[in-house]
């Protein structure tokens, strides 16, 4: 059939991933099922529209930062202006599904994730529609490498974005994730501490934003679901967006769409900020730190009824010495398959110790008053009474979750024990936190908690963490003054 030009097996497998997944021969599938189902066998009988060459998309592709001309030229041995290289990419990728526009975006991955887009070049689809539709575009491991390689990119601080003397409006979506609201409060209190006149608002409409700096926290919420859909183009072009999402998520795509419009962004993760800079966005890092009296300064508070009513909670004693803390291990993270499997595999060692494993399953939107929810304030109380903070990544990404590891861990004197993380430089493995792969984790836990040497290691890292927090707070104070 292939010789006769009436069937194209590779085309068929590419177009219908369910056939490959079912491990069926493509020609068998076509004859037995596909033909009756009206599927396209390719060849001259093909009814599917061919991928059309869309040269009008070249400026949008170049603006996205996802086409890396130098990388592309070196990878495929072609020369030309940037626009010529994009044209070459568009023509070549129509024949070669594996051709990539740069080190981050993979056409093959995008096509597999979004089979409905296959009549369009994947990158064209993403920059024209997919990004603002919130389609996942990046593999987590590839994004990790992309960010880590961006070490030569400059990282700014918030001062580099704000006109001295201009007031600042910090915007967030009032119906959004309440953790993002906390971050909006933090941004406002930090800028206010730095001497800016700051307003924290959930709606900008009706305000005169002329000669005012605008910061949107979580643009994938405020500008997609909230009043930010009505931002005037002139404002949208200069907003500083605060990105809070990991790159492999659909939310990141929504956020990226907004960040590419203004090309000004802050991130709570320094590596992510570098990655954004590599995409041509002026990006800065704003570390979340417990400022005295601020939203992340949890201090000591009696545990709330929400924490204790339906849970067995040990008496919280706040001992001075880390090794006297009543909990050996704290885990905090919503439960997905990967985490459930990992915790089950650690069961035999965790069961020997005193643990607080907060691992709820969330099937719907999370509200702060859900009995399954534990607020940051309560978690900090447990963390101040736990020796180790166990961290299991939600997926394959090694993203360094600053909020979890630093704010909920190190700042509370609780030593993070985590799967390997992308090294962000400021907080170092072996010095401020302990790394172990899931395979190594049981033996590492037993060593840390069950041997004199291991307990000394906990004390050492705990002490380093204390010094780190003092240093970061000092740096921040200097920065604010």
């Amino acid at each position: 059939m292939e010789r006769a030009g009436i069937f194209n097996a590779s085309d068929y497998l590419f177009r219908y991933p369910d056939v490959g997944a079912a491990r069926l021969s493509p020609v068998y599938h076509y004859l037995a099922h596909g033909m009756h189902e009206g599927r396209d066998g390719g060849g001259y009988g093909s009814v599917a529209p061919r991928v059309e060459l869309d040269l009008d998309a070249i400026p949008a592709i170049l603006a996205s930062g996802l086409f890396d001309a130098r990388w592309y030229a070196a990878q495929y041995g072609v020369v030309g202006t940037d626009a010529q290289l994009v044209e070459d990419f568009l023509k070549s990728s129509a024949q070669d599904a594996l051709r990539q526009p740069g080190p981050l975006f993979s056409c093959a991955f995008y096509s597999l994730e979004h089979p409905d887009t296959r009549i369009t070049n994947p990158l064209v689809h993403y920059v024209r529609y997919g990004m603002r539709e919130g389609r996942r575009a990046f593999q987590s491991t590839v994004a990790d490498v992309f960010m880590t390689q961006a070490h030569d990119q400059p990282i700014h601080t918030f001062r580099d974005f704000l006109q001295p003397g201009w007031p600042v409006v910090v915007l967030y979506w009032k119906d959004g994730n309440f953790f993002f609201t906390d971050i909006a409060k933090y941004v406002a209190e930090t800028l206010s501490g730095a001497g800016f006149e700051v307003q924290l608002l959930d709606d900008h409409r009706g305000l005169d934003l002329d000669r005012t700096e605008v910061i949107v926290v979580a643009p994938h919420e405020y500008c997609v679901h909230g009043p930010g859909t009505e931002l005037a183009p002139a404002i949208a072009a200069r907003v500083v967006h605060m990105n809070l999402e990991q790159w492999h998520t659909s939310w990141f795509s929504l956020s990226l769409d907004k960040m590419l419009t203004s090309r000004r962004a802050l991130d709570i993760n320094p590596l992510s900020a570098r990655g954004l800079a590599r995409l041509g966005i002026k990006a800065g890092f704003l570390p979340l730190l417990p400022r005295t009296g601020g939203v992340f300064d949890f201090g000591r508070q009696p545990p709330s009824k929400q924490l204790t009513e339906l849970r067995a909670v040990k008496p919280l004693t706040y001992p001075r010495k880390v090794l006297k803390r009543p909990y050996d291990i704290l885990f905090v993270g919503y439960l997905n398959k990967r985490r459930a499997r990992s915790l089950a595999e650690l069961g035999h060692v965790l069961s020997d110790y005193d643990c607080f494993l907060h691992a709820p399953r969330f099937t719907g939107p999370i509200t702060p008053d859900s009995p399954n929810m534990i607020g940051s304030q309560d978690l900090a109380q447990i963390a101040q009474n736990a020796k180790l903070l166990l961290n299991i990544h939600q997926g394959e990404s090694h993203y360094f979750e600053w909020h979890r590891l630093v704010v909920s861990g190190i700042a509370q004197g609780c030593v993070p024990l985590t799967e390997p993380c992308a090294n962000i430089g400021i907080v170092e493995p072996g010095k401020h936190y302990i790394e172990a792969t899931l395979d190594e984790m049981p033996a590492r836990i037993a060593w840390l908690l069950g041997t004199a040497q291991g307990l000394r290691e906990i004390e050492r890292i705990h002490e380093n963490g204390r010094k780190l927090m003092a240093k970061l707070n000092k740096q921040m104070a200097r920065h604010l003054s």
């Binding site: 067995a312 499997r341 089950a344 399953r361």
Partner: protein, 249 residues
């Protein structure tokens, strides 16, 4: 509470210890000794074991009796009862609960395992909370897909969509007696029914955020018997009839 007439096959020590571990046994000769070993290794010594054999057709009863004779210990109360007729796991559990004289009952299936600090941690939880009728922990699923059960607090928002709490938990015996124990429901889900009845009576079951026990996943786990897709539909109907607030899907 529906129970069955029994014969006492073996008895030693006292059944008046603070915790009775109630094990309904039916055709688990392969697993019962390992399960009992896990009970004997508990750090908490204030424990009695009550095994109710539900007319096993394999060697379960003899295996349990031999284990008890061999592991006899003055502190560990042991009681092995045999149903006169096969009655199902729920009734066997009720028989065990009725025979207990303890403050607490821990319900254990004959193929599952406890980690050594399981009872200690459950007792610590319930000792500090006289207002709680029961306590359950996270449970590790082993053999087959590794999973966690019990990941959530005892609240309607989770339980109306399906059961996520295994029966392997510690209950005040008074609470179980107050509810008339387990009901017999065709195809199972008596554990879910019990949790819902507890919830409806405004009782509290404390969530212990620790892994303390292991659930053996295999095709004949005691609470999963005969739950094929048709039966599950019937179960949904039956459970929704008993508990109209449910939103099963």
């Amino acid at each position: 509470m529906i129970t069955q007439q029994t014969e006492t096959v073996y008895q030693s020590g006292s059944v008046a210890n603070r915790v009775s571990i109630v094990i309904a046994l039916y055709n688990y000769e392969r697993h019962i000794a390992e399960t009992l070993d896990s009970v004997a290794r508990q750090t908490s010594r204030d424990v009695s074991i009550i095994v109710v054999d539900d007319r096993s057709t394999d060697n379960s009863l003899d295996t349990a009796a031999a284990w008890m004779r061999h592991n006899r210990h003055p502190q560990l109360g042991m009681l092995l009862l045999s149903h006169r007729e096969n009655a199902g796991a729920s009734i066997a559990r009720n028989t065990g609960i009725a025979a207990a004289r303890s403050e607490f009952c821990f319900i254990l299936d004959a193929d599952n395992l406890l980690y050594p600090r399981c009872i200690e941690k459950h007792l610590a939880a319930l000792d500090t909370r006289s207002d709680a009728a029961a306590a359950y922990s996270l449970i590790e699923v082993f053999e087959g897909d590794r999973e966690l059960f019990g990941a959530g607090v005892f609240a309607e928002e989770g339980l109306i969509h399906g059961n996520f709490i295994d029966i392997m938990a510690m209950y005040r015996r008074s609470a179980l007696l107050g509810l008339n124990g387990f009901e017999k429901i065709k195809y199972g889900w008596e554990d879910y029914d019990l949790w819902l009845r507890l919830l409806e009576s405004n009782a509290i079951a404390l969530h212990i955020p620790e892994i303390t026990a292991r659930y053996r996943h295999h095709h004949s786990s005691i609470t999963r018997t005969e739950q094929n897709s048709t039966n599950v539909l019937d179960l949904h109907k039956e459970m929704s009839r008993r508990h109209p607030q449910l939103r099963l899907h």
